[in-house]
């Protein structure tokens, strides 16, 4: 009774409450706008920095800097060391015999005089050199496209196989009515609390031994490369706590009568999964895709350990590039930006699914 009285207290109080609520709301929006700007800033800075030459990186750049011209008194060695100038490519473009050796201290002026090359031709070759140096080095001097191809290959196959296998697991565990089903379910739950680092070393040893059994694995070549990629895919599709939880609970929620009537109509379990379960599992499938796609695409530790450098996916390649061009941050930032962009485009195109999938997945944990 006392409560009911309180609830119908004078309207004056109600006004202040609604004002307070409105104020809180304005404050909340303001904070979130600021947070959003701070969140986007690193991406913008990364984009700009991929065009800022190392030499100018001690100054603040909020936009792509004006391309400075490469002066004729720059030394070839300096350009090669700090800007990863591809000397073979330069020789070809300027018509210098590829067998000729250019001393590191040779300036561009001296090159022009020695080989009788007009200054304009050199200037033309070096147009935009400082600004686009990072991108040029990345796209020409590294196996960037190969790495992208392998990343998409591994991530795509892993995603499809993982979902297929996880649906089968979910079907096998549906209901969790028996002791053996509970046991298997709890085994999968363990995955959530086992850090990848704990099993990395023994897992590596085991996988190496198994792969070693296959003929042709020891020798460099396509067999070795394919086997390594298969090993990586197997690790990706082994199932996680999340995949098991999502599909087990989704399939448990489907009325038993549907399955029974399908079997009475003469369907076998595979047909039931393919034609009846699959269309009903759209939401959990999307949930898993939006969580696993970034995980597979951004995988670093496992491919870094399991794949040879000439067979690597995107992120290990970036780490190799960073080691190789350690003084040229322009290349590193270009590579990082290039690695981030494809997934962000996918994310922005399908953001509705990401939001729904993540919120649905978060309930399951």
């Amino acid at each position: 009774m006392a409560n009911a009285e309180k609830r119908t207290r004078p309207a004056a109080k109600g006004l202040t409450i609604s004002w307070r609520r409105r104020l809180l709301r304005v404050f909340a929006v303001l904070v979130m706008v600021i947070y959003s700007i701070v969140t986007i800033f690193p991406f913008y800075a990364l984009f700009v920095r991929s065009f800022v030459p190392t030499k100018e990186s001690t100054q603040l750049h909020l936009w792509i800097p004006e391309a400075e011209e490469v002066r004729m008194d720059r030394e070839v060695g300096n350009l090669a060391v700090f800007y990863d100038l591809d000397l073979n490519d330069m020789k070809k473009a300027l018509g210098i015999p590829p067998t000729d050796f250019l001393m590191a201290r040779t300036t561009l002026q001296e090159v022009a005089e020695k080989y009788n090359i007009p200054e304009e031709k050199i200037k033309e070759y070096f147009a935009g050199f400082y600004t686009y140096n990072g991108w040029k080095t990345l796209l020409r001097g590294t196996d960037f496209w190969g790495a992208i191809r392998r990343t998409i290959f591994v991530a795509g196959i892993s995603l499809v196989l993982m979902i297929a296998l996880s649906i089968c697991t979910g079907y096998g565990l549906a209901g969790l009515v028996r002791r053996d089903q509970m046991l298997v379910y709890n085994l999968y739950l363990l995955q959530m609390v086992i850090p990848a680092m704990l099993i990395l070393l023994p897992q590596y040893m085991l996988v190496q031994r198994i792969l070693g059994l296959f003929p042709g694995y020891a020798a460099k070549g396509p067999t070795r490369q394919i086997l390594q990629l298969i090993g990586l895919i197997l690790i990706n599709i082994k199932g996680t706590a999340l995949s098991t939880m999502i599909f087990t609970s989704a399939i448990s929620g489907i009325p038993k009568e549907i399955e029974e009537s399908a079997f009475i109509d003469g369907a076998n379990p595979l047909q039931y999964i393919r034609h009846i379960l699959l269309p009903l599992l759209k939401v959990p499938i999307i949930s898993l895709v939006v969580i696993q796609l970034p995980a597979f695409y951004n995988q670093f530790l496992e491919p870094y350990v399991y794949l040879d450098p000439d067979n690597s996916t995107l992120l290990p390649l970036i780490q190799t590039v960073a080691g190789q061009f350690s003084t040229n941050f322009q290349v590193i930032y270009s590579a990082i930006f290039a690695s981030v962009v494809p997934l962000i485009i996918v994310y922005l195109l399908f953001r509705r699914f990401f939001v729904e999938g993540v919120m649905a997945g978060a309930i399951k944990g």
Binding site: R25, L190, K238
Partner: protein, 302 residues
């Protein structure tokens, strides 16, 4: 009761079919997650130095006690442990500073897809890229954030990411930034599950916002808190990619956390068995804690 002892033909068939379907993934899962443990067990008692060590000798429990007796191991392990614990604490606080605050703000404005899209965006970035972004923003002389903050006179001295404090604070800041959307989703799900009537009632009764938080929201969000804790705890100990990008494997000793130590023992400095033992000693208590948290969460949920 009778049905329990002798399963009918149909029940047997169902069990058989279910096992046929769950076996393929289970073989992979057990083979690649559980079996490695048992493969590793005998190695913990040897001096195996690298993956293709030709000569392996048994050493009894030496690896297990090395943590307490061997100064060379202590020199590596203890500072790494200290850094890891500092990171765990700071990273755990970012779960609340970013995740919980954003969830509460979002709840107050009503669910907005646009904000969600932006806040969740950093989760599309790899750990490696986050590490390089940290360097890009906070390297002492070239960091964009440093230069910007100096220009705006927010800070008077540039932050150095390669210094002790720099690494200790910037790393959790950026990792927290990356997982902000994920943690927000966890807390937001908890908030959205609270019955609307209890909130309205507390407002009408004149509860202040803080009272509402501690008396109405938080007590009804326990599963979210436990889930966020479990994920953060396990994730913090396993942080690796960000550290590699910050130069932990070579140039930046301040970023050498435990995960880096285990990696280098296995792949770089030829102390494989020791590295495995140390990782077991570190992580097994953590796995037990994780399982306990998981059980607690499930009990609270149902």
């Amino acid at each position: 009761m009778a049905a329990r002892k002798g399963l009918s033909k149909r029940q047997k068939r169902t069990i058989l079919i279910q096992w046929a379907f769950l076996t393929p993934q289970l073989v992979l899962f057990v083979g690649l997650t559980i079996v490695p443990f048992f493969v590793a067990l005998p190695i913990l008692f040897t001096d195996m130095a690298q993956f293709n060590d030709p000569q392996i000798n048994p050493v009894g429990f030496r690896n297990f006690v090395a943590l307490f007796t061997d100064p060379s191991v202590q020199r590596d392990y203890l500072p790494a442990l200290q850094r890891t614990l500092v990171f765990v604490v700071l990273n755990y606080s970012t779960v609340y500073i970013f995740g919980l605050s954003l969830a509460l703000l979002m709840y107050e404005v009503g669910f907005k897809g646009g904000f969600f899209t932006v806040i969740y965006l950093p989760l599309m970035v790899s750990g490696l890229a986050v590490g390089y972004m940290a360097v890009m923003l906070f390297a002492k002389e070239t960091g964009t954030a440093n230069l910007l903050l100096l220009k705006l006179k927010v800070i008077s001295q540039a932050i150095d990411i390669y210094s002790r404090e720099g690494t200790a604070f910037i790393l959790p800041l950026l990792v927290g930034w990356r997982y902000a959307g994920y943690n927000m989703a966890i807390f937001l799900t908890g908030l959205l599950g609270i019955p609307q009537e209890t909130i309205e009632a507390s407002i009408v009764d004149g509860a202040s916002y803080l009272q509402r938080l501690f008396r109405v929201y938080f007590p009804q969000m326990w599963p979210s808190f436990i889930l966020a804790t479990t994920m953060c705890l396990i994730g913090s100990f396993a942080v690796f990619d960000e550290l590699v990008a910050m130069g932990a494997l070579y140039v930046n000793p301040e970023a050498k956390l435990l995960s880096i130590l285990f990696f280098t023992y296995g792949f770089q400095v030829e102390r494989l068995a020791m590295g495995m033992t140390l990782s077991v000693e570190t992580f097994v208590p953590l796995v037990i804690l994780g399982v306990a948290l998981q059980r607690l969460q499930r009990r609270l949920q149902y």
